[in-house]
């Protein structure tokens, strides 16, 4: 019996909103599988960690299924998207939630200011600080689509930043773990390029 090889497993963290990501992967002819099964995720060539809802709900679901431990120990490329990226950090101010702790920083609440409503919703420029494969083919200052009320501060792991009153982490990467604060699946051609780059990362085991 042969099994169709897949390119990426999407972690089903209980958010309703996996369809747009699946559609984006289909447009790239990528074979994806949605799963909450620790074994399936461990064996995946690459792992996408999306997130909708709040940090406390998402972490509660990951802990209840033991996936928090599975994710921490992964060696293959992982990309967290939006809340999925924030979960990689040590802690989030959203519900004062301990997160996966893969990255050493605390995700902070955005404060609204004149001309800067919160949630931050819209197309914002992204500037690379390091040359990484995930950002191949993107121009400096490319617009990508953000929707968030919390954000990660800029740390040495921030490979790209965006300015919303202050510099925030737009793309983070440490070892095999990476994340985007923006939604690549809804960021036009530039976003599709980020997903394409992720799918091209070697699936080391």
């Amino acid at each position: 019996m042969t099994v169709d090889p897949i390119d990426v497993v999407i972690v089903d963290s209980g958010g309703a909103n996996l369809a747009s990501l699946q559609f984006a992967l289909e447009r790239l002819s990528a074979r994806s599988l949605v799963s909450a099964d620790g074994e399936v995720i461990r064996r995946a060539p690459r792992v996408l960690l999306p997130g909708v809802g709040s940090a406390q709900d998402a972490m509660a679901r990951l802990r209840a299924t033991g996936l928090d431990g599975v994710l921490r120990e992964l060696r293959q490329p992982l990309l967290g998207i939006c809340l999925g990226m924030q979960l990689l950090y040590r802690r989030s101010e959203e519900g004062d939630t301990p997160c996966l702790g893969i990255l050493p920083a605390t995700v902070r609440r955005l404060e609204p200011a004149k001309g800067r409503p919160v949630p931050h919703m819209g197309w914002n420029r992204v500037h690379a600080r390091r040359d990484v494969a995930l950002l191949d083919g993107l121009e400096d200052g490319e617009h990508l689509y953000f929707v968030h009320s919390f954000a990660a501060p800029v740390t040495p792991d921030s490979v790209a930043v965006t300015d919303y009153g202050m510099d925030l982490t737009a793309v983070v990467q440490r070892d095999n773990f990476s994340g985007t604060q923006f939604h690549p699946e809804r960021s036009g051609k530039a976003g599709a390029r980020v997903l394409y780059n992720f799918l091209r990362l070697p699936a080391c085991s």
Partner: protein
């Protein structure tokens, strides 16, 4: 949308078919639209929720944010629309009938997912919120004042407000700058202007004078009167930050 086709009216009346949803969705995507919003306008008046099948078909071809509105009256309705591929749901009449719906949606999906549409009419008694506007025979004053409702929906967890100024809708004489600026003053979430766009200068004015975060338009884009690509070039020249 009405009965599966894209329609546009003038001041919420006399809707005529302007095209097929898949054609228009793909065209506005390719033209550089920053987000697509689709209203199933007869869903609430007919007491039903938006049809998920077309949500799914549209979502599959869009690589930009996608917001869907139409009779979304429960967490389950919203879940189905989001599962079909929308990013955001917009509620209008259901929120007026059951304001606590906004908080339930925000708790489940996060505020960023919850848009409140406000259809606001200019009357002798000030700006008033109208409900069931998709059907001219059933549309009515909700009994609410627009500025108070804008504040209330934010308190309840709305992550974005689309203000549709009914007196300006479809007549292409420009956005209602005074009303939008008044709502802007009480709005700390993203504010989207809707109703009245007729020429490029109207877009420049609404960003400059009303301080909105985004401008929504329908007929001028669908008819080809304004091309989004040209509009964005003009806005950038006027100093408005836009995605090229």
């Amino acid at each position: 949308m009405r009965d599966g086709r894209v329609v546009k009216g003038v001041r919420f009346r006399g809707h005529t078919v302007v095209g097929e949803i898949m054609d228009l969705a793909a065209r506005e995507r390719d033209e550089g639209a920053g987000e697509l919003v689709v209203y199933d306008i007869t869903a609430s008046p007919e007491g039903r929720s938006v049809d998920r099948e077309w949500v799914r078909r549209v979502a599959a071809v869009l690589d930009i944010p996608f917001c869907v509105a139409g009779g979304i009256a429960s967490v389950a309705d919203a879940e189905a629309v989001l599962a079909a591929g929308a990013e955001k749901v917009s509620v209008n009449s259901p929120a007026l009938a059951d304001p606590a719906l906004i908080a339930r949606l925000a708790a489940r999906f996060g505020s960023q997912c919850v848009v409140v549409g406000i259809d606001s009419e200019t009357t002798a008694h000030g700006y008033r919120v109208h409900a069931l506007t998709g059907d001219p025979d059933r549309a009515r004053d909700s009994g609410r004042e627009t500025l108070a409702w804008a504040q209330e929906v934010q308190d309840r967890g709305a992550g974005e407000i689309v203000l549709n100024c009914m007196a300006s809708d479809g007549v292409r004489r420009g956005y209602d700058l005074a009303q939008l600026a008044a709502v802007r003053a009480v709005c700390h979430v993203p504010l989207v202007a809707s109703g009245g766009a007729g020429e490029i200068a109207h877009f420049e004015a609404v960003f400059r004078d009303a301080g909105v975060d985004a401008a929504l338009a329908a007929s001028v884009f669908h008819s080809g009167l304004i091309r989004i690509s040209e509009l964005k070039t003009a806005l950038a020249r006027a100093g408005v930050e836009v995605r090229p």
